[in-house]
């Protein structure tokens, strides 16, 4: 049986993917984020828009495709998310 992720877990996975894939200032493409965060294109589009509007991700202008990189606020949020995720893991629960 599949394990369904909660919204906050999906956001965490996308930010984690963006952090991992942001090796330079160019950011990560949607395709790479979809692969890394294991999420459908239709779903990620809406979430990416939200995350950019919240300042957690930054949209990078590119000649060929739209790319995203994690912002400083996004890094801080991801750090806190990991902390609280570990906290709930200690109780045998998921955040």
């Amino acid at each position: 049986m599949g394990i369904y992720r909660k919204q906050i877990e999906i956001v965490g996975d996308i930010l984690y993917a963006a952090e991992e894939l942001t090796i330079d200032q160019n950011g990560a493409s949607i395709t790479r984020l979809i692969q890394k965060a294991n999420i459908s294109h239709s779903r990620i589009s809406k979430i990416l828009t939200n995350l950019v509007s919240q300042g957690l991700l930054e949209q990078v202008d590119s000649r060929r495709a739209c790319k995203y990189r994690i912002s400083m606020t996004g890094k801080d949020f991801l750090k806190e998310y990991r902390t609280f995720s570990e906290f709930t893991d200690n109780f045998g629960l998921t955040i």
């Binding site: 919240q54 949020f77 806190e80 902390t83 906290f87 893991d89 200690n90 045998g92 629960l93």
Partner: protein
């Protein structure tokens, strides 16, 4: 000696409960996670429960000086603690859903029959024991899946608290024995074990007010 141990236990319980509850609340404010909300209620309730009993002992020590706590205050504190244990068990029940909660119900019936003639305080203790055992079992199951040391420490903590409650039952049968002091020491060890993994986490709070407000709006929470 028992009076002193009770004071130490309840003070530690109060501090540990409030710190873990406060940390869970910071997590809930930042992430909006319902799991963290339930853990907030659980540990704040556990902390308040211990705090009420501790206050009862302090009041007796300073003003009444009878050498024993008001039974009503003790029952109130234990009742509030049980609410906390319920929310820990409840989080696991939601995670595991019905198959394992059947086990919970089957185990839960026994102590209720065993203590049906006892007073309200001991019935509350029986509920705490059941909830703690359930929480400990579920946490150990999670440890077997994830193999995280923190989960093991929490599982051991809940198990020690449960064993402490169990020994406290036996002290009713042998009231003058060392059993009650042993149960208090077990519960202190349980609280310390619960706190170990939490103490390793950075206990600070970062606010994401803008994100939080808009996230709730846009993610439809």
């Amino acid at each position: 000696m028992e009076f002193l141990l009770e004071n130490i236990l309840n003070l530690i319980g109060f501090i540990v409960g409030i710190i873990i509850g406060g940390f869970a609340y910071a997590g809930y404010k930042n992430t909006g996670s319902p799991v963290l909300f339930r853990l907030t209620i659980a540990f704040i309730a556990i902390g308040i429960g211990f705090g009420i009993i501790w206050a009862g002992y302090v009041i007796d020590d300073i003003y009444i000086q009878e050498g024993k706590i008001n039974r009503g205050l003790q029952a109130l504190g234990l009742g509030i603690q049980t609410i906390g244990y319920f929310f820990i068990a409840f989080s696991h029940t939601i995670k595991s859903f019905f198959p394992k909660s059947r086990y919970f119900r089957s185990v839960g019936i026994l102590p209720l029959f065993a203590l049906s003639a006892m007073n309200i305080e001991h019935i509350i203790r029986s509920f705490s024991f059941i909830l703690l055992v359930y929480g400990a079992i579920e946490t150990f199951v999670s440890f077997l899946e994830g193999k995280q040391k923190g989960t093991l420490a929490v599982g051991i903590g809940l198990a020690l608290l449960a064993f402490g409650e169990f020994i406290a039952w036996y002290s009713l049968v042998f009231p003058e024995s060392i059993l009650y002091s042993v149960s208090i020491l077990l519960k202190i060890s349980g609280l310390i074990s619960l706190f170990i993994p939490i103490s390793r986490l950075p206990l600070r709070k970062i606010k994401f007010d803008d994100f939080e407000d808009n996230e709730d709006e846009k993610f439809g929470r």
